[in-house]
């Protein structure tokens, strides 16, 4: 997944696209060759291309929902791992907890990129995105809860008073057995 992201992302400075684009429409930002007007061609194939587009956007929406639901499995997996790790602080449980915290955070940071391939004017991405975010937030909450059960969150009074200096006494008294 990471590798794929790298290729698709802005890792490359330039690219020469050798694929045949003769049938597909160019994107808007490339100027048309001289003496060529797109409108006539578009009108010619409008019905065909619209059908094609609809199919594509349907497919994209379906894919987006799939992607959005993917973290659920992950969540179950994480829960199981946490249950296995137990409630004592040691290497394994700390590792699990921190990965459980790190994974949602990094995923939430890259939420736009995950849904970029499915970006389309016709596709409604808000629903899948929300589901995706909610699931990962759930994962995060699970991680925080785990952190708390490990006793690593300052939620008790003891966490705040453990370095409280003793109170000063106003009076002072000395003495003892005479020398």
């Amino acid at each position: 997944m990471e590798k794929g992201k790298g290729v698709m992302g802005s890792g490359r400075r330039w690219a020469v696209d050798f694929s045949d684009n003769s049938t597909a429409p160019f994107s808007r930002d490339i100027p048309n060759p001289l003496g060529f007007t797109r409108a006539s061609v578009d009108q010619d194939d409008s019905t065909v291309s619209r059908q094609k587009k609809d199919a594509e956007s349907n497919w994209k929406a379906q894919k987006a929902w799939e992607v959005a639901q993917a973290p659920f499995k992950n969540l179950l997996m994480m829960g199981f791992m946490m249950w296995m790790a137990g409630n004592t602080v040691h290497l394994f449980s700390i590792g699990i907890t921190f990965s459980a915290l790190w994974q949602p955070i990094s995923a939430l940071q890259g939420v736009g990129k995950v849904f970029e391939p499915y970006k389309d004017s016709k596709v409604e991405l808000l629903g899948p995105k929300l589901l995706f975010i909610a699931l990962y937030l759930g994962g995060l909450a699970l991680g925080v809860w785990k952190l708390n059960t490990l006793g690593l969150l300052p939620t008790h009074a003891s966490d705040w008073v453990s370095s409280l200096p003793p109170a000063q006494e106003v009076e002072y008294s000395g003495g003892g057995i005479p020398l």
């Binding site: 453990s162 106003v170 002072y172 000395g174 003892g176 005479p178």
Partner: protein
């Protein structure tokens, strides 16, 4: 990316591995002497006997005021062997019998022991009983034999014993029926079988008994009365004559008892010395023909010429010590006298019958800080030209012991350090230019050699000789004995006050004496008795240019209302900055928790009339004091009548002289213990300079308990008055011990607990919010230790997290002790195997590190015991959460782990006190144990968590870092190449 994801778990793993190691406190064999040092002393010498036979090593046998018998090497002053007798087994006399046994008489003349001279093994021991208590006299005649058995003659407990030198069997004994007879001398004229016992009876009667040495038969008994009585001391001038003084100290009496006839010859001292003033005292000596008397500060040597005729041979104003006579050749006896004159001492060895002729006359430069000579012992040797040479063993005022020979000090021992009465610590100067630093640099070759040796040691190629060389190099490392402050605060000065009134500064690195200072004598006070040491000025924030100083409180005489003397001594140089002779006595010294702008601590001195005097006497101190006037209280413990009283300051003293630094006090409260059922035997306050990190104690399940931390709590232990006798004097039913925790400001008893069937002695230590005390349980026939922890219940409901997060609580605001605290206590008791001489607790700079109890055991060792073993929350089956917290399952007795003796194989003979000083490094505390011996070490109760240990492998760390860097570079290169290939694909 790959490296990072590997490295973090690796680090975590290493951390976990380190923390899971169980704490090991013991040392490895090669660590002995790296941080600790041990010094052996003997104390002030009372009596010395030389053993300089041709065969065997030359040695001197000494008995001391610390009840030590020791055999010292005459060449170097080292201890061959040493025995410390118990504190109630005071040595009365020593001598050498048959040239191979050391005979000691001790315990008021009731125990006679014989020790093997070469190795100090005890040969035999005899108990000599008698009808009454009396002076003890030991006489080991060289040529008195009964049936081929050498005889020791002992007069003790009103009875004369003849004891066999071989096996300690009592050959005969003779009681002296006269009730009030007090023997002064036992005389055995050489070459005869007679023993003379002379003494006084009923203050005005002189008695002489002549006894057959073979069977103890009384041959003659004479008595004569002298109407005006006698002073007790006599001087033996010949085998048939003693010299005594009459009861007014103005008439000399020559008492001769030749042939059993007693005759007196009176000579008024005024006839001999024209300007004599005041009563004289006779100095007990045995020099034939010469005796010494002392009037005021004048020492007078008087020679006996003929029968009862005296002649003054010398008068001197100098302090003089005279030795007993030493037979040097046929009929000749020599003696030594040592005079103190300014920075020199004059030695003279004279023949007894010829005053004017000196066998030896020398002057030796003497350190002023050693004071005057107190005692001198003489010994002779034959030079190669068959003339007599002399060596003198001198005991000085500061209890040091010196051997003088051929006009030079051969060796000296600082035996004053055997009787330390108070200790405090001082910082060393900061390292900066111009401060003398111990020489660190040595030449390159030595340096290279040292490193080669170390390398060999690391690679395990070193031979045993090399290992020893490496070890001695580590121990002598100049780093630890530098005269400047170090980053970790391990190097400090220990300022100790000895019974002789001398201050010593010991370096914590190697225990050497940096400076010493004998307390200043003034006109007003001839012999100040040092009492206590206080830190007077500890500059650390302001006034950094000033040197720190200590305050020495001394008293001008033995009675408690004698005027006090204050001395201020600079701890860097040992110079006395100032000395004040007070007009009032010093009964209590209260260091106040306030300092002035030069960081001089304010002290309140209470005199015997309960007036409080403020020091330093400056207006600034007075204004600080006035500001806190109503908050200062003091308490006094009157242990003889069982009352603890609290006092407050009232107003300025009312008297003829206006003294604005003197304050009247009034009684506030008193706690009276019923005298028929309770007697105070121990009171322990908290240490003034103890630092407590936190007031909260986190227990299992993140719960909090608030400690009741107050500087003003006093632990008091009382026992049934019947218990003051020895063990076995009381049944468990009529014996009890009551422990109190008393608030010393208000007099409120915070806690009281009774231990039935328990008795003293009680040793206790008070720190933070707990007290641990040690006593004897008569029912269980075992020693016990109890712990009381005290918690503040009124703070217990401060558990709202949000209030704590935003600081909306009043847990750290100042509190008054007059607001009634609600305290709860938790306590627990455990059996403990040892009886205890002293208990202390480790103290660290911030008070974060967990504490250890330092227990001075009866075997003169110091045992470190984790405070976790004395936790009242221990239970037989702790829950999982409690186990996680570190609570140890309860056992009936405290474990003694052999590895936790911090003195490892050494013994601190005669252990009296343990002092802990925090180092700057939080994990570490410095421990100083003193008795007859001194011992110092560093201790890390929770291991050195804040610094790398000495055996940390820096090489391994470097190799690891280099390997990691190399791996990073290689993988980076590889990944770059791969990426490039990917791009070209």
């Amino acid at each position: 990316m790959a490296i990072r994801s590997f490295f973090i778990p690796f680090l975590l793993f290493v951390l976990c591995f380190c923390s899971s190691l169980s704490p090991v406190l013991s040392l490895y064999e090669d660590q002995v002497g790296l941080m600790d040092w041990h010094q052996q002393y003997i104390g002030k010498v009372k009596q010395a006997v030389f053993s300089t036979q041709k065969t065997g090593r030359r040695r001197v046998i000494v008995s001391t005021e610390e009840n030590v018998i020791a055999s010292l090497d005459l060449r170097h002053g080292e201890i061959f062997w040493r025995h410390l007798l118990g504190s109630n087994d005071v040595i009365n006399g020593i001598d050498i019998g048959l040239g191979k046994y050391v005979i000691t008489l001790s315990s008021g003349g009731s125990i006679l022991r014989s020790w093997n001279l070469p190795d100090g093994q005890m040969v035999w021991e005899s108990f000599l009983q008698g009808p009454k208590h009396s002076k003890s006299l030991l006489l080991v005649p060289t040529n008195l034999k009964i049936e081929k058995d050498n005889v020791i003659v002992v007069f003790s407990n009103g009875r004369l014993h003849a004891v066999s030198c071989i096996d300690g069997e009592v050959l005969w004994k003779k009681d002296f029926e006269a009730e009030s007879f007090e023997a002064q001398q036992v005389i055995q004229p050489s070459g005869s079988d007679l023993i003379y016992v002379v003494g006084f009876s009923a203050s005005s009667q002189f008695k002489m008994y002549q006894i057959n040495a073979r069977n103890g038969e009384l041959l003659k008994h004479e008595s004569a009365t002298f109407s005006s009585g006698f002073l007790r001391e006599v001087s033996l001038v010949s085998s048939e004559m003693v010299v005594a003084l009459d009861s007014t100290g103005s008439i000399l009496l020559a008492i001769s008892f030749q042939n059993g006839e007693i005759s007196f010859q009176e000579t008024p001292i005024s006839n001999l010395v024209e300007d004599s003033s005041g009563p004289a005292v006779i100095i007990p000596l045995s020099v034939p023909g010469i005796f010494v008397i002392k009037t005021n500060s004048v020492t007078i040597f008087i020679k006996v010429i003929g029968k009862g005729k005296f002649e003054v041979v010398e008068k001197t104003n100098h302090e003089t010590a005279v030795s007993n006579a030493l037979p040097i050749s046929e009929g000749q006896q020599a003696f030594a006298l040592v005079q103190h004159a300014g920075s020199e001492i004059h030695l003279a060895v004279k023949l007894a019958h010829d005053w004017d002729d000196n066998l030896l006359k020398e002057s030796i430069k003497m350190d002023q800080q050693r004071g005057i000579p107190h005692k001198v012992f003489i010994n002779n040797y034959i030079r190669t030209d068959r003339s007599h040479g002399f060596r003198l063993l001198i005991v000085m005022e500061d209890h040091s012991l010196l051997l003088l020979q051929q006009g030079a000090v051969v060796w000296s021992r600082e035996d004053g350090l055997a009787s330390i009465i108070d200790v405090t610590a001082s910082e060393l100067p900061l390292e900066r230019d111009g401060v003398s630093v111990a020489k660190v640099e040595h030449n390159l070759f030595e340096w290279l050699k040292g490193h080669m040796l170390k390398l060999k040691g690391t690679l395990m190629l070193a031979s045993p000789k090399d290992v020893a060389a490496i070890q001695s190099m580590r121990i002598k490392s100049s780093e630890k004995s530098k005269m400047t402050r170090d980053h970790n605060g391990f190097r400090k000065l220990l300022i100790v006050l000895t019974r002789a009134g001398k201050l010593f500064a010991l370096h914590t690195g190697d225990g050497r004496v940096v400076w010493s200072h004998l307390l200043h004598k003034s006109e007003a006070c001839q012999s100040p008795i040092g009492l206590n040491l206080y830190q007077w000025q500890v500059p650390h924030h302001h006034a950094l240019d000033e040197n720190p100083s200590v305050l020495v409180i001394s008293r001008c005489g033995p009675s408690s209302d004698a005027p006090g003397v204050l001395s201020f001594v600079d701890t860097y140089t040992g110079k006395e900055l100032n000395s004040l002779s007070l007009i009032h006595a010093v009964v209590q010294v209260i260091p106040l928790p306030y300092t002035d702008s030069t960081e001089q601590r304010l002290h309140l001195l209470v005199d015997s009339d309960k007036h409080a005097h403020l020091y330093p006497k400056t207006s600034e101190a007075l204004s600080i004091f006035k500001h806190e006037f109503s908050n200062i209280y003091w308490y006094s413990v009157e242990d003889h009548n069982g009352i603890i009283k609290g006092h407050a300051l009232k107003c300025m003293c009312i008297g003829e002289v206006v003294d604005e630094f003197c304050f009247d006090t009034r009684d506030l409260w008193s706690v009276v213990f019923p005298s028929e059922s309770e007697k105070i035997i121990a009171t322990v306050p908290r240490k003034l300079n103890e630092v407590v990190h936190t007031q909260a104690k986190v227990i299992a399940d993140q719960d909090v308990m608030y400690k009741y931390i107050s500087r003003n709590i006093l632990f008091v232990a009382t026992v049934a008055p019947k218990c003051s006798g020895g063990i076995g004097s009381v049944t468990p039913e009529e014996s009890w011990l009551v422990a109190y925790l008393i608030d010393t400001v208000t007099g409120r008893i915070l806690h009281r607990v009774t231990h039935h069937g328990a008795r003293g002695p009680v040793h206790a230590v008070f720190s933070e919010n707990w007290v641990v005390y040690h006593y004897f349980n008569l029912r269980a026939h075992r020693y016990e230790m109890s712990v009381i922890e005290i918690y503040d219940q009124s703070r217990a409901d401060n558990k709202d997290v949000w209030k704590l997060v935003f600081g909306k609580h009043n847990l750290t605001s100042p509190i008054s002790l007059f607001s009634r605290p609600e305290v709860i206590t938790k306590s627990q008791s455990y059996f403990f195997t040892h009886s205890v001489k002293a208990i202390a607790v480790t103290s660290t700079a911030k008070g974060i590190t967990s504490e250890q109890l330092l227990i001075g055991t009866i075997g003169d060792q110091v045992l470190a015991l984790d405070k976790r073993f004395l936790d009242p929350r221990r239970s037989v089956n702790p829950t999982q959460a409690e186990k996680e917290e570190g609570i140890i399952p309860l056992t009936d007795s405290l474990p003694i782990i052999p590895q936790s003796y911090i003195t490892h194989a050494l013994r601190v003979e005669g252990l009296r006190g343990i002092i802990t000083v925090p180092a700057k490094l939080e994990s570490t505390t410095l421990v100083f144990a003193h008795g007859v011996d001194l011992f110092f070490t560093q201790l890390a109760p929770s291991r050195t968590y804040d610094s790398l240990t000495e055996d940390f492998s820096y090489a391994l760390l470097l190799i690891t870092i280099v390997a990691l860097v190399a791996a990073i570079i290689v993988t980076w290169r590889l990944s770059e190449r791969k990426e490039l290939q990917d791009k070209w694909r």
